[in-house]
């Protein structure tokens, strides 16, 4: 009897069937997101700005900063969970309007009035690079270490980022979230933005894979940026928990467990040095 479907056909159909199963999962996923926060009504909350791959529910174990903060919270005896949000104003709302225990992020830019009731504890010091779009600058784009060398260009700043130095160097500034900045750069609406290398790679892989090869980093680092956990002194436990957390985190830096978590996530290569800045110094300030 003649075989109606060839072996290759059977393989193709099998692959299509497997693919349809995978597609169906993502295409009609209307189930609830099963997160730690779903069972956390009795726990305090640390509201954080999503910052892949360092701090995100989309990364295994939540990422290195999530694991470090969770360990420090545990060692300090603080029963709290980290909940991540896509935009800064959501983090600010929970911290300032609902008096959550703490927030976590960078470029949080609170008003001077709000800062009076907040305690900032640094949890990471990172090197950032200026990223630009190669098709817009086929011969490359570099800076001398002085922003004046980028005069006339447009800088893509994170919302809440300090932009005074760019303004005074006659650099136009447009604002957005990291993913929006990368899209602005690809569209020619901004020329460059300061982003950690791992974050750039992660976001381009996930949302702009076809454009990844068109982005490049300037040779000279853009500078360092600090990630903070910000405790709310208006919360009943805010003052005590801030002190306990600082002590636990300092112990983790001193006993090497902080570095061990970073190595586990990032590896022991050159990349690690970019995200292991002088935290001891920041904590001592």
């Amino acid at each position: 009897m003649k075989q109606i479907i060839s072996k290759a056909g059977i393989v193709t159909l099998s692959l299509l069937f497997m693919g349809s199963l995978l597609f169906a999962t993502t295409a009609s996923a209307t189930g609830p997101r099963v997160t730690k926060a779903l069972f956390a009504i009795d726990k305090d909350q640390v509201h954080a700005l999503d910052f892949p791959p360092f701090l995100s529910t989309e990364v295994k174990g939540g990422g290195p900063f999530s694991e470090i903060v969770n360990s420090a919270l545990e060692q300090a005896g603080i029963d709290a969970v980290i909940t991540t949000h896509p935009v800064r104003r959501m983090v600010n709302y929970y911290l300032l309007q609902e008096n959550a225990l703490a927030a976590m992020g960078r470029h949080l830019n609170f008003s001077s009035e709000a800062r009076k009731s907040l305690t900032f504890i640094p949890v990471a010091v990172m090197v950032e690079r200026f990223y630009y779009y190669k098709p817009a600058y086929p011969n490359g784009l570099e800076w001398s270490g002085k922003l004046a060398s980028l005069k006339g260009k447009t800088y893509g700043a994170h919302k809440g980022e300090d932009i005074a130095a760019f303004k005074s160097a006659d650099i136009e500034v447009k604002q957005g979230r990291t993913i929006a900045l990368l899209k602005m750069i690809a569209k020619g609406e901004a020329d460059f933005a300061a982003i950690p290398a791992l974050t750039t790679n992660w976001l381009l892989d996930k949302y702009m894979a076809s454009e990844k090869g068109n982005f490049a980093a300037m040779q000279r680092p853009a500078g360092t940026d600090v990630m903070y956990v910000v405790f709310n002194r208006k919360h009943l436990q805010g003052v005590d928990d801030a002190a306990k957390f600082r002590k636990a985190l300092t112990a983790m830096v001193n006993d090497g467990s902080y570095a061990a978590i970073m190595k586990k996530h990032i590896g022991n290569g050159e990349m690690l040095k970019l995200y292991m800045g002088d935290l001891k110094g920041e904590l001592a300030k």
């Binding site: 993502t26 295409a27 996923a29 189930g31 609830p32 997101r33 730690k36 779903l38 956390a40 896509p86």
Partner: protein, 274 residues
Amino acid sequence: MVMFFRVMTGIVLLLITGVSASLADDEGLSVSLDANDSPPYWSQTMVKDGMCGEIVHAASEAAGLVSHIHYKPLTRMIEDDTNNDLGNPEFYMGNQDFAAVIPVCVYHVGLFYYQPNHKNKLTFNTVDDLKGYKVGILKGTLVDRSYFERAGVKFEESYSQASLFKKLQRGRIDLVIEIDLVGNKIIDRLFPDSHDDFVESIIPGSHMPIAMLISSGYPDAKQIGSLYRKGMKKIKASGLYLQILESYYGAGQVPDELMSDLERYEALYNYEQE
């Protein structure tokens, strides 16, 4: 000749008002919104697009808007960073900026179990209460896997919600985590004669928002967002909003905390927007 000028005038007016994406029709400003078919919240086969669809259409009518809901796979909605979305904002805000996020409802997450398979009533307050049970979830919805593993919770994942509830009834799993109305609708469909044997326990504090998200690049996005907010306010004041909810939950069955949760999300998504 008169007809030619009318047609040309119409085309010019359309171009001037910039309505390539938001066509004005006879009834009001027309807005295109994308949803993922997820009955009874959004459904292309239910009357007026399901419960949240009804709310959107009622708020639109109250505000002089006409909403057109188009059904698409969730992944396409997430990848598209120019469209207007309907659903849980958490899914869409990672890859897209929105000029307005207007909550229309709140859903809660329930733990379902099949009473004939258990001697006593089960209660759940913390993650520790899940230990020792086999918990059924929809594949792709588990986020903090390592946390639950450390807590000793065992999950069984399925590709369809119906299969989870069939396994639950047969005793192959002990619990199903599912959105409250979705779970009840599936039980109604699969086990119409034994609905009362299924017990639902709402997870405290498990509220999640369902919203209209107007893309920042959409024509007149801020104005449209403002009109939707006005429409929501009107239908809540008139009682129509509660009437729609009760037609799905049953009279007097709308969760007590739904309205206060909704107000909280309205404040959250409107924060620093003004």
